[in-house]
Symmetry: C2
């Protein structure tokens, strides 16, 4: 007897994430890991959380914070988000905001909302592998989101139709994307919106890293650009996914979605059916901590992470062989590395762990078709500058031993 015979066909697309499996191997202290994608816990606003939690479990408050709450989310938190979105050029009301268990849950719900099997999702090549994981449960076909490519919307739509569905959305991270660290300029943002209009599809804007800009000039989110075009969020096709995981702390699992009311309304029903609500206490303390110190805390993170980014870029410059190239992000948590053609990031990782005890994520995991094996992702948020330089020197030695020049 095995229940696995009873599993739905959608489970065929659910594979273990290479990153999550990798993270389990990295618990040895002598390893220098650039593999994670996680914030430095030493930078959590711990004392503010401690104060907020003490208030949340006081005799006056606990009857509410430990109790069930509405599926759409805690109103003061939704109000804080409305104020935050306004600073990004996005005018909305609490009815446009759904609180989710991190922005990962928003991606799951958006797959569930839009994708019938064989529908097409346009994604970056590479893209966030957690987005692929979330969408895979709904059995989409993937096509390449690349407004600058030769293939125009007509061809993309025709291919989607030939595959038995239609294009439902484009998914992207416009700022310091995971895994590349690359930011879309204004023309690229406009081009995505133009293409979305032509294809009549939704745009899912994953803004997980947006607040973490360390240099250069910020571009408005796609949703802000679309509101400026159309005058009203209710007329917009962009769905904005935000997260407190990279700015305050990930362990409370609090994120949000901003979109037109019919989209939020349907997602509230979905959330009610899927987990009732995001944990009440987590929303209450997040609202209080955000209210107290969001801006100054993010300013501190920018300074610390920005220095780590510069340290890693400088170290790569000093130690990498000629045939290796990398991105120069202005924010986020990642640098994306290209090895010479024919090299294999996964094999290099095996060698790196075995010989020099340095870790990273092989890049092919971030491609919907598993291609581009000669890439890798480096995280700089978890290590101080000295460790970064030591780790990059280790990586250079691994490359040298592997004959990468």
């Amino acid at each position: 007897m095995s229940l696995t015979n009873l599993f739905a066909t959608r489970t065929e697309g659910m594979k273990a994430s290479e990153i999550r499996e990798l993270l389990k191997l990295l618990d040895q202290p002598e390893i220098i890991s650039f593999a994670g994608g996680i914030p430095d816990p030493a930078l959590f606003p711990r004392e503010a959380f401690a104060r907020a939690m003490a208030r949340a479990v006081s005799a006056e408050a606990a009857g509410t914070t430990l109790q069930y709450a509405p599926s759409e989310g805690y109103l003061p938190l939704r109000r804080w988000i409305v104020g935050y979105m306004a600073t990004l050029g996005i005018a909305c009301t609490p009815e446009n905001v759904l609180i989710t268990a991190g922005s990962q849950q928003a991606l799951d719900y958006l797959g569930k909302l839009f994708v019938d099997p064989s529908d097409t999702a346009l994604v970056g090549w590479p893209t966030y592998l957690g987005a692929l994981g979330a969408f895979n449960a709904y059995q989409p076909r993937y096509d390449r989101l690349d407004p600058a490519a030769n293939r125009g919307p007509a061809e993309i739509a025709a291919d989607a139709e030939a595959a038995g569905g239609r294009v439902k959305f484009a998914y992207l991270s416009a700022d310091f994307a995971n895994p590349t660290g690359v930011t879309m300029d204004l023309a690229e943002r406009e081009a995505v919106l133009d293409m979305a209009e032509t294809l009549d599809i939704a745009v899912i804007e994953d803004a997980a890293y947006q607040a973490l800009r360390y240099s250069g000039t910020a571009y408005p989110p796609l949703l802000a650009i679309e509101i400026a075009r159309k005058g009203d969020l209710e007329a917009c096709r962009t769905i904005y996914c935000g997260s407190f995981s990279k700015t305050l702390a990930p362990g409370l699992r609090v994120g949000w979605v901003v979109a037109a009311k019919p989209v939020i309304g349907q997602m509230v029903l979905m959330k009610q059916a899927a987990d009732l609500q995001t944990a009440t206490l987590n929303q209450v303390v997040t609202a209080e901590v955000a209210e107290e110190l969001f801006d100054e805390h993010v300013a501190m993170l920018r300074k610390v992470y920005g220095a780590r980014l510069q340290a890693m870029l400088a170290s790569l410059e000093r130690h990498m062989p000629k045939g290796v190239s990398w991105t120069r992000p202005e924010g986020g948590m990642f640098i994306w590395v290209h090895l010479p053609e024919g090299e294999d990031g996964a094999k290099l990782l095996e060698r790196a762990l075995a010989t020099e005890k340095v870790a990273f994520v092989p890049g092919n995991a971030f491609f919907a078709d598993g291609s581009n094996r000669n890439t890798l992702r480096l995280n700089f948020s978890m290590s101080d500058e000295a460790t970064i330089d030591a780790g990059i020197q280790r990586l250079a030695r691994v490359m040298d031993a592997a004959g990468i020049r």
Copy 2:
């Protein structure tokens, strides 16, 4: 432009829950509400939570409790659950346990795990409407779980095949089921397991209310019975869903699933893709509070809720007209009421809110086909004995005015 045109076909089955919509109307203090299904917040173990949270955000702990954690859940909590399951006759290991965001999320994941569109789910008639809501997203057909009925497994399987799929699971709550409060006896439990063997399907055992027994003798969970039959959880088709929502507090959203390893393994992948993990801090404090006081706290709840149940039963006895009947539960949070044939619980609720300010849930919401309109569900966990008696008297006056005899 409307994105609703792009929604997946599964959204057609996602409707607003009558209960959740109702709860929004009940914020007026003069209403006596038997509509909710929620624990009394005055009984939350607030001080234990306060102590556990203070420890969880201490300088030593916060780097872990506010950080990402493994998708399968916090190991000390899974270990506590292993010990708890042993007291129910269920031998398992932490690898058999997945922590979910409440048992509602377990139901969503189990729908996702098993149901291809047109597959059949066997459910009680009535059943927990949140289970129907969770499963609906995966477009099942429903058939009636009733091992004592004339239709045998062969007929049920043939009907499922004719509908274009196969039977995938039976869903049930064996103890003090929502909405009826009824408990299955040993023979009924055995009969479900027999039928599951014949049909070769999974059994989803929703144990949300299991710990809340106020009188009578406990029967073993179906999973315990199946383990006794087969000698090993790994050979079992029963999947046990537990929750801390009714015993400790619902606002932290912590529940669990116990099943054979291949099921848990697939669900861990699903959780990783859908929301990464249940909030770390919530798991840590739940583990500590459960460790400290679970048994004594549940003993106190049994005493308080048991007295409320007896008060409501006595009050119904005193005030209900002859044509009305109801269940006599031995635990849980609900009593199920039958009005005379031809009466309509929804219309009675309208009248009850308008005239006597007393609320309940019309029973048809709990039937997959919306039938049995002459039923209603009464909750007794949220009101003290005096309020219960006053509310039942109000209800009796509403019935009298409606001509119910």
